[in-house]
C-alpha cells in the first residue's frame, strides 16, 4: 500500500509541475491574440450529392486520397466504396460481422479496412487479380471493440480499441508491432500526423494523447474535457490538435505550447460531438453533433459561422477531402451527403 501511495504522490507532483510549466508560457490567450482579426464570413454550403444505398445506420466514412472515392461502413453489414461524383457504388463489400464501427481507406487506394464488435481489423484488397474484393488479412489481438483504424501505408495500420489500447500492426505478417498503452478508458478515435511520425488518440477517460509511432511512447497528454472524447483530428499544420466530446464542446490544443488554446461551445448546443474535420487551411472546423446538425466553427475566433442541416438523424462521421473541395457527412439516417 505504501508504495502505491508514494507512486501516486510522485505522479501528482509531476502533474503539478506540468501545469506550472504550461502557466509559465501563458503570456497571452488565443482569444486575445486574435482580437485584431475579423471573423470569417458566414459559410453556406449546400448538399451536392446524396449517396444512397445503405440500409441501416452509418457509423464511419473515410475519403480516399484522390478526393473522389470514399468508403463508408454501416450496421447493415456492408462496406461501400463510392465514386462520390457519380454517386455510383464502386464496391459493395459484405462483412462477416454487421456490428462495424470504423473504416479506413489506404493512401495508395489499394486497400480498405474495417472493424467493430468483432474486435478485429479486417483488411480488404480492392485491387485483387480477378476483380473480386477479398479479405486479405484479419488483425486479431484486441480484447475490446475496434473503434478506429488508419493506414500509415500499405504495410502498416494503426488501430484504437475499447480495450483502452492502440496498436501498430504489420499487415503482411498480421502481427502487432507496437502496443500503445496508457489510456484509462475506451479509445474512441485516432488520427495520424501529416508527417506520419505521430498519432493522437481520444478516449473515454476524457483525455487525448500524442504518441510517437517509432518510439512507442506517449509524448503528451491533454485533459480538460468533461466527458468522453469521441473524435480527434490534427490541425493541418501538424502542430495542434482538435477534439470533440460528449460534453458538447470541441477543443483546440497546441502541441508546442502543451496546452488547450480554446474551446468551441455555445449555450444553444446541448448534444455531444460525434465527429469533426478541419478545412484545408484549418480556419474552419466542421463538427457533427447528436442533434442531427453539423456546426461550422471559425477555429481562431471560436464563433459559429455556419450550420449544415439536412440529416434526419445523428451525424456519426464527417470528412473533408484532401484537396479540401468537399465535405462528406454520414448519418444514422443511412445516407451520406457531400457538401460544399
Amino acid at each position: 500500500m505504501g508504495e502505491m501511495e508514494q507512486l501516486r504522490k510522485e505522479a501528482d507532483s509531476l502533474k503539478d509541475q506540468i501545469t506550472a510549466a504550461r502557466k509559465a508560457v501563458q503570456d497571452t490567450t488565443l482569444q486575445e491574440a486574435v482580437a485584431g482579426i475579423t471573423v470569417v464570413g458566414r459559410v453556406q454550403m449546400k448538399t451536392r450529392k446524396t449517396l444512397r444505398g445503405h440500409l441501416a445506420k452509418i457509423y464511419a466514412m473515410h475519403w480516399g486520397t484522390d478526393s473522389k472515392l470514399c468508403v463508408s461502413a454501416s450496421q447493415d453489414g456492408k462496406l461501400i466504396v463510392w465514386d462520390s461524383i457519380t454517386t455510383n457504388k464502386v464496391n459493395a463489400i459484405p462483412l462477416k460481422s454487421s456490428w462495424v464501427m470504423t473504416c479506413a481507406y489506404a493512401p495508395s487506394g489499394n486497400f480498405v479496412a474495417c472493424g467493430g464488435l468483432d474486435n478485429m481489423c479486417s483488411i480488404y484488397n480492392l485491387k485483387g487479380k480477378d476483380g473480386n474484393v477479398k479479405v486479405m488479412r484479419e488483425l486479431a489481438a484486441h480484447t475490446g471493440y475496434l473503434s478506429c483504424c488508419r493506414f500509415l501505408n500499405d504495410s502498416e495500420i494503426i488501430t484504437s480499441s475499447g480495450d483502452c489500447t492502440c496498436v501498430l500492426w504489420d499487415i503482411e505478417t498480421g502481427t502487432e508491432k507496437t502496443i500503445f498503452t496508457g489510456h484509462q478508458g475506451d479509445c474512441m478515435s485516432l488520427a495520424v500526423s501529416p508527417d506520419f511520425k505521430f498519432f493522437i488518440s481520444g478516449a473515454c477517460d476524457y483525455t487525448a494523447k500524442l504518441w510517437d509511432i517509432r518510439e512507442g511512447q506517449c509524448r503528451q497528454t491533454f485533459g480538460g474535457h468533461e466527458s468522453d472524447i469521441n473524435s480527434i483530428g490534427f490541425f493541418p499544420n501538424g502542430n495542434a490538435i482538435i477534439t470533440g466530446s460528449d460534453d458538447a464542446t470541441c477543443k483546440l490544443y497546441d502541441l508546442r505550447a502543451d496546452q488547450e488554446l480554446i474551446t468551441y461551445q455555445d449555450s444553444g448546443i446541448m448534444c455531444g460531438v460525434t465527429s469533426l474535420a478541419p478545412s484545408l487551411s484549418g480556419r474552419l472546423i466542421l463538427a457533427g453533433y447528436d442533434d442531427f446538425n453539423v456546426n461550422i466553427w471559425d477555429s481562431l475566433k471560436a464563433e459559429r459561422v455556419g450550420v449544415l442541416a439536412g440529416h434526419d438523424n445523428r451525424v456519426s462521421c464527417i470528412g473533408v477531402s484532401s484537396d479540401g473541395m468537399a465535405c462528406c457527412t454520414g448519418s444514422w439516417d443511412s445516407f451520406l451527403k457531400i457538401w460544399n
Binding site: 508504495e3 502505491m4 507512486l7 505522479a11 502533474k15 506540468i18 510549466a21 509559465a24 508560457v25 501563458q26 503570456d27 497571452t28 490567450t29 488565443l30 491574440a33 486574435v34 461524383i85 471493440y145 473503434s147 501505408n153 504495410s155 475499447g162 496508457g182 484509462q184 475506451d186 473515454c204 477517460d205 476524457y206 483525455t207 517509432r214 511512447q217 509524448r219 497528454t221 485533459g223 474535457h225 466527458s227 490541425f235 499544420n237 502542430n239 460528449d246 460534453d247 497546441d254 508546442r256 505550447a257 502543451d258 488554446l261 449555450s267 446541448m270 448534444c271 455531444g272 478545412s279 484545408l280 487551411s281 484549418g282 480556419r283 447528436d290 442533434d291 479540401g324 473541395m325 460544399n340
Partner: protein, 482 residues
C-alpha cells in the same frame, strides 16, 4: 477543484449511468424544462384553453416556447430556437397535444409538458408487455381521443400474436389500469393520458420518426448493470422474460495497478522534459498558417477554375493532374520545403533544379528513405542495403554528405536494418536541403519562370519572332520569282 489533476484527465464519477451521453443531454434539457415551467421566474404561461365543446388544460403555444428559448438562452435565430425546441420535444419533454410527431412549431400549436415520472432520465426501457397493456387499455375506453392510429393498431395485432399465450394476463392488467384511471378527475385524466401517450411516442416512435432513446453501441457496453431488473411502467412484475442483450458484457472497471501508475509517471516525465513554446508565438503561427492557406481553402475562397462539385465542371481536377501547374500552385511550393515536396510536380521541379546543379543526390536519398518506410517488412533489409551502397558506402555513386556522428549512428543501425534505420540521416539531409538548396531553388529561373508564368510569354514571343522571320523570307523569296 485542483486544476492540475483535473487537467490530466480523470474518470471520477461514481455512477457510470450518469456518464452516458444521453443522460448528459437529459440533465441539460431538464434544467431548461424546469426553468421554462417556472412562471414566477419568467417562464411561459401555462393555461387552460377553451376549445369548441371542452377545455384544454395545462397547455402552452409553440410560439411562446420559441420566444422563451430565444430570450432566455440568448438564441438570435428563430430557426435555431426551433431546432433546440424540437430536440427537447424529440426526447419527450414537451409534446404537441394533437400529434404523435415530436417536433416544435413556431405557431399556435398547443404543447404540454411531460410529467417527471415519465422523464427519460429515469432510465425507462419499457418492455413490449407494458406496450401491449397500454394499447389494450386504450381500446377498452370508448373515447374518440383514445382511438388507435393505424400504426398502433398494427403494433397491437403483432403483439397479440407474439403474446398469444399470456394475452389473458395482459388483458387483466389493462382492465386494472382502466379501473385506476377511472378514479381520477376528468381534467387530470386528460393530462395524464396525453403524457402517457407522449411517453410511448418516445419509446415506440411513429414509423419514420427517430428513436431518440437509441444509444451508440460503443457506449452501451459500459453499462455496469445490464442484467438489472427492468421496472415496469404499470408495475407488472418482471417474469424473467427480458433477454440480456448480446452487446452487454460484464466489463469490470479496471482499477489502476502499480504498473499503470509507473507508466503514467514515465509519460509525465517525458511530457515535462520538453520545451514549451509561448502561447503568443503559437497563436501567431496558427494565424499566419491559416492566413497563408485560406486562399487555397475552397470552403473559404472561391477556386479558379471553379469547384468541380458546384456545376459539375471537372476542369479543376484535370488541371491538377496535367502536370502544368498554375501560378497559385507554384506559389504554394514557396511556403516551405514540406509543401514543395508534398506536390509531385513541385518535387519534380526541385529535382530538375538540383540536377542542373549536380546536387540531386540529397533529394534522391530523402525520397529513397521515404519509400523504404512504406515497404513491406520483408523487402526492408535488402532495400536498406541498396540505399547504403548507392549513397553512403565508400565510393558510392551518389555520395551524400553526412556529418561523422550521423554516419556512425547510421552504420550501426544497419547492423540490424529496419524502416527507421535512416531516420537521423534523413532528418540531417532534409535540414541541409532546407537551408541551402531550397532557398536557391526559389531564386532559380526554373522556379521563377513557373511562378510568373514567364515560359509561356517567352514561347509566344519566340513563336511570333519565327513567324515574322518566315513571313519576311517567304516575301523576299517570292520577290525573287517576280
Amino acid at each position: 477543484m485542483a486544476e492540475g489533476s483535473r487537467d490530466q484527465g480523470g474518470v471520477g464519477t461514481t455512477d457510470p449511468e450518469e456518464d452516458s451521453p444521453n443522460m448528459i443531454v437529459y440533465r441539460k434539457i431538464e434544467d431548461i424544462v424546469t426553468r421554462i415551467q417556472d412562471e414566477k421566474a419568467g417562464g411561459v404561461a401555462i393555461r387552460t384553453v377553451k376549445s369548441f365543446l371542452s377545455k384544454i388544460p395545462s397547455v402552452v403555444s409553440g410560439a411562446d416556447i420559441v420566444q422563451w428559448l430565444m430570450k432566455n438562452l440568448s438564441v438570435e435565430d428563430p430557426a435555431e430556437a426551433i431546432h433546440l425546441g424540437s430536440l427537447v420535444a424529440a426526447h419527450g419533454y414537451i409534446f404537441p397535444i394533437s400529434d404523435h410527431v415530436l417536433t416544435l412549431k413556431d405557431d399556435g400549436t398547443l404543447y404540454r409538458f411531460q410529467s417527471p415520472y415519465f422523464w427519460p432520465s429515469n432510465c425507462w426501457e419499457p418492455e413490449n408487455t407494458d406496450y401491449a397493456i397500454y394499447l389494450c387499455k386504450r381500446t377498452m375506453q370508448n373515447k374518440a381521443r383514445l382511438e388507435l392510429a393505424d400504426y398502433e393498431a398494427e403494433n397491437l395485432a403483432r403483439l397479440q400474436r407474439a403474446f398469444a399465450r399470456k394475452w389473458e394476463f395482459i388483458f387483466m392488467q389493462a382492465e386494472a389500469q382502466v379501473k385506476i384511471d377511472r378514479k381520477k378527475d376528468k381534467a387530470e385524466r386528460k393530462i395524464l393520458d396525453s403524457q402517457e401517450r407522449a411517453f410511448w411516442d418516445v419509446h415506440r416512435p411513429v414509423p419514420g420518426c427517430v428513436n431518440t432513446t437509441e444509444m451508440d453501441i460503443r457506449k452501451c457496453r459500459r453499462e455496469r448493470n445490464p442484467h438489472r431488473v427492468k421496472k415496469s411502467v404499470y408495475g407488472v412484475p418482471d417474469d424473467g422474460q427480458s433477454q440480456p442483450s448480446p452487446i452487454h458484457s460484464s466489463s469490470q472497471p479496471r482499477k489502476p495497478t502499480k504498473e499503470d501508475v509507473q507508466k503514467e509517471i514515465t509519460f509525465l516525465n517525458i511530457q515535462l522534459d520538453r520545451h514549451c513554446m509561448k502561447v503568443s508565438k503559437v497563436a501567431d503561427s496558427l494565424m499566419s498558417y491559416t492566413e497563408q492557406f485560406m486562399e487555397y481553402d475552397p470552403f473559404v475562397s472561391a477556386t479558379d477554375p471553379s469547384n468541380p462539385w458546384i456545376g459539375d465542371d471537372t476542369s479543376f481536377w484535370d488541371l491538377e493532374a496535367s502536370r502544368e501547374p498554375s501560378q497559385q500552385r507554384v506559389k504554394r511550393w514557396g511556403f516551405s520545403l514540406e509543401e514543395a515536396l508534398k506536390d509531385p510536380v513541385g518535387r519534380d521541379q526541385f529535382l530538375k533544379f538540383l540536377e542542373s546543379e549536380f546536387s540531386s543526390e540529397n533529394l534522391r536519398f530523402w525520397l529513397a528513405v521515404q519509400d523504404l518506410k512504406r515497404r513491406p517488412l520483408q523487402d526492408v533489409s535488402a532495400r536498406a542495403q541498396e540505399i547504403w551502397q548507392e549513397f553512403l558506402a565508400e565510393g558510392a555513386p551518389s555520395s551524400i554528405n553526412l556529418d561523422s556522428h550521423s554516419y556512425e549512428r547510421t552504420s550501426q543501425n544497419l547492423k540490424d536494418p529496419g524502416r527507421y534505420s535512416y531516420e537521423d540521416a534523413q532528418e540531417h539531409i532534409f535540414q541541409l536541403m532546407k537551408s541551402d538548396s531550397y532557398a536557391r531553388f526559389l531564386r532559380s529561373n526554373i522556379y521563377q519562370d513557373l511562378l510568373f508564368a514567364r515560359k509561356k510569354v517567352i514561347l509566344k514571343s519566340l513563336f511570333l519572332f519565327f513567324f515574322y522571320i518566315n513571313l519576311h523570307s517567304s516575301i523576299s523569296h517570292n520577290c525573287l520569282f517576280l
